[in-house]
């Protein structure tokens, strides 16, 4: 069963175009490397940035090895607290990617459910939900997240907030972006509903839930895949922005955004690497996802909701 699905994939147009597109292959390889490296951070990283015993404040602000004052122990140098930058980046990417994926899972769950219900049942419910989606989209995610997180931080106090940060980030980014999925799924459901087979299965007497999940949903998979690639990239950027503002992950458990934030003041004294290296890592991560998203959109050419 899996073997046949795999063979079908190898013969598909998607795989055919992928093999001919050097940029797509490169992006895919880089992305996979990112995922593997960050999720095996505890094995790969030379230091554990969460372990205070391994950190020596005397090692702070050491530049990367290729510079004059570099130190063999720290490939990419150290930050202001003396943590090995490479290890911190590996652990940080893991947090960024985790938040990105879970936030998008939440978006997808909310958006697909609402989109299916809205498109399938139509009428007033549809009107109401889509109006809500319009309003939610016009308030920017980042704006809503900033205000929401700022108020919660003020309400909880910094200490408790730092413990909850990862959950809060996933919730806020996850809830704010559902309309992208909902509108696209709804548009596809409306198109699918017109086709004969949906009528046919309804005649057989299948319930609406079964019809939606067994017959309509599989047909909306390609637009969902395209949106998800770009949305994970967006979620990672949003997380980084929030952490940069001090509303996200704390410096003790940094994501890429909080790393960039913690190093920012040091660029004026010349220690550029604390900020710039995690910055470049973040850009590459987001860039390859956007490139893959572009590739998928061009190849699958799904019916995306157009604003």
């Amino acid at each position: 069963m899996i073997a046949s699905a795999w063979r079908r994939f190898l013969g598909s147009y998607l795989f055919f175009s992928f093999r001919r597109d050097r940029i797509a292959i490169l992006s895919f390889v880089v992305l996979c490397t990112f995922f593997l490296a960050s999720f095996s951070a505890s094995l790969l990283a030379p230091f554990d940035p969460y372990d205070p015993i391994q950190i020596d404040i005397m090692d702070s602000e050491i530049p990367p090895v290729w510079m004059e004052e570099g130190d063999q122990r720290f490939l990419l140098g150290t930050d202001a607290q003396g943590r090995d930058l490479l290890s911190t980046i590996l652990y940080g990417s893991r947090i960024s990617i985790t938040i990105g994926i879970f936030a998008v899972l939440l978006q997808a769950f909310l958006g697909i459910s609402i989109g299916l219900v809205s498109g399938y049942f139509g009428g007033r419910l549809d009107n109401f939900l889509m109006r809500l989606a319009d309003i939610q989209l016009s308030f920017s995610t980042l704006m809503v997240a900033i205000i929401f997180l700022a108020v919660f931080q003020a309400l909880f106090g910094t200490e408790l907030y730092e413990k909850l940060a990862i959950v809060m980030l996933i919730l806020v980014i996850g809830i704010a972006e559902w309309p992208h999925y909902a509108r696209t799924v709804r548009a596809n459901v409306l198109a699918e509903k017109k086709k004969e087979y949906v009528d046919a299965v309804r005649v057989i007497g299948l319930g609406s839930l079964r019809i939606m999940f067994k017959h309509i949903l599989p047909n909306t998979l390609s637009p969902i895949l395209v949106i998800s690639t770009v949305q994970i990239a967006n979620a990672i950027v949003s997380e980084a922005a929030l952490s940069f503002l001090g509303l996200g992950m704390p410096v003790t458990k940094p994501s890429l955004g909080s790393l960039i934030n913690s190093g920012f003041e040091f660029i004026f004294s010349g220690s550029w690497w604390i900020t710039i290296i995690p910055g470049v890592v973040l850009v590459v991560l987001v860039l390859v996802m956007n490139l893959l998203g572009d590739f998928l959109r061009d190849v699958m050419n799904p019916k995306l909701y157009k604003d």
């Binding site: 920017s140 980042l142 108020v151 922005a241 956007n290």
Partner: protein
């Protein structure tokens, strides 16, 4: 036109009401106005009688109504930190933020329209392909990173441009503006570039995609068959149709732009509302947080209404919704 306009107005008022309720519930839950007033050295009984006196024990709706009436008169409370009316504190910083927003909007409009249009007309031209390739990189770099990197390059390493603050400003009809002095302009360059670094590629890509679709349409083919000049076909027939979806997306981006001003102002220590807001959050200066919400909400609603009106002016199907197609 009138019906269209009044519908938008009702919608704007509704959104403002929702924002005011949110703002009020924040005020209601965040911080204790009593403590700010009298400190902690007051007995419980005295506290209660004071609370009653101030109406803090009234039902939510009564309190909200009081807040609403005061807000209508422009009274949004007194900042704990600045000891001045919160609205005044915010409005002092408004020109700085608006200057950033206008500068960015100008850059985006001036560059995205011609680049997007020409990239659609000449999809194979090498320079435009290069620009399109750059645009996906531009979209992938978060605003605050562009800001940091541009500071590192142009201020720290090269020393060409200032890295923080507004520089020299002058008073103009009660507004402090920076764009009239050389120093002020120099200070504007980096923040505005950083702020447009993500909006510009977004709009270039959007305009290009829409324009390419429009150029394939039958009415453009008909326009060629009529023997019109290329200029008229591209910049009147095609561009006007391209702009409709672009205006809609532009409206959706207003909220994002305001959020990005917070990021940019933080990096450049720009003395605007966003910077002030983050300070207020750190100090738990509730009235200031609430005032920021209301002012930003108002800007957002006004800007969106203007965008809708522009859309209505460009798109005839909206403007003349009252008359219907007539038969033979």
């Amino acid at each position: 036109m009138f019906a269209f306009f009044s519908r938008r107005l009702v919608q704007a008022v509704l959104v403002m009401l929702v924002i005011s309720v949110i703002a009020f519930s924040i005020q209601d839950n965040l911080g204790d106005p009593l403590r700010e007033l009298v400190g902690q050295s007051v007995s419980e009984a005295e506290r209660q009688s004071l609370r009653n006196q101030m109406g803090l024990n009234d039902p939510f709706f009564v309190q909200y109504w009081r807040f609403f009436k005061k807000a209508l008169l422009g009274d949004l409370g007194t900042s704990y930190f600045f000891k001045r009316p919160a609205l005044d504190v915010i409005l002092d910083k408004l020109p700085a933020t608006l200057e950033l927003v206008f500068g960015t909007t100008l850059i985006v409009i001036l560059f995205s329209v011609p680049i997007g249009v020409f990239a659609a007309i000449y999809p194979k031209q090498w320079f435009l392909r290069l620009v399109m390739g750059m645009s996906i990189i531009g979209i992938s770099i978060p605003v605050f990173l562009t800001a940091i990197m541009s500071i590192y390059i142009f201020s720290v390493e090269l020393g060409w441009l200032p890295s923080f603050g507004r520089g020299e400003t002058v008073e103009l009809y009660g507004w402090t503006v920076g764009f009239l002095t050389r120093d002020g302009l120099m200070h504007l360059i980096l923040p505005c570039t950083a702020l447009s670094s993500i909006m510009l590629p977004l709009f270039i890509r959007l305009i290009r995609a829409e324009m390419m679709e429009v150029l394939e349409s039958e009415y453009i083919r008909f326009a060629w068959a009529k023997g019109l000049t290329r200029r008229r076909i591209w910049f009147l027939h095609a561009l006007k149709n391209t702009l409709l979806p672009v205006i809609t997306v532009g409206g959706l981006q207003i909220g994002t732009l305001i959020a990005f001003t917070i990021l940019t102002e933080t990096v450049f220590q720009w003395p605007g509302m966003g910077f002030l807001f983050l300070e207020a959050v750190n100090r738990v200066d509730t009235p200031l947080i609430v005032a920021y919400l209301i002012v930003v909400g108002l800007i957002f609603v006004i800007a969106n209404t203007i965008v809708d009106l522009i859309y209505g002016l460009v798109n005839p199907t909206v403007r003349l919704a009252r008359s219907h197609p007539e038969g033979e």
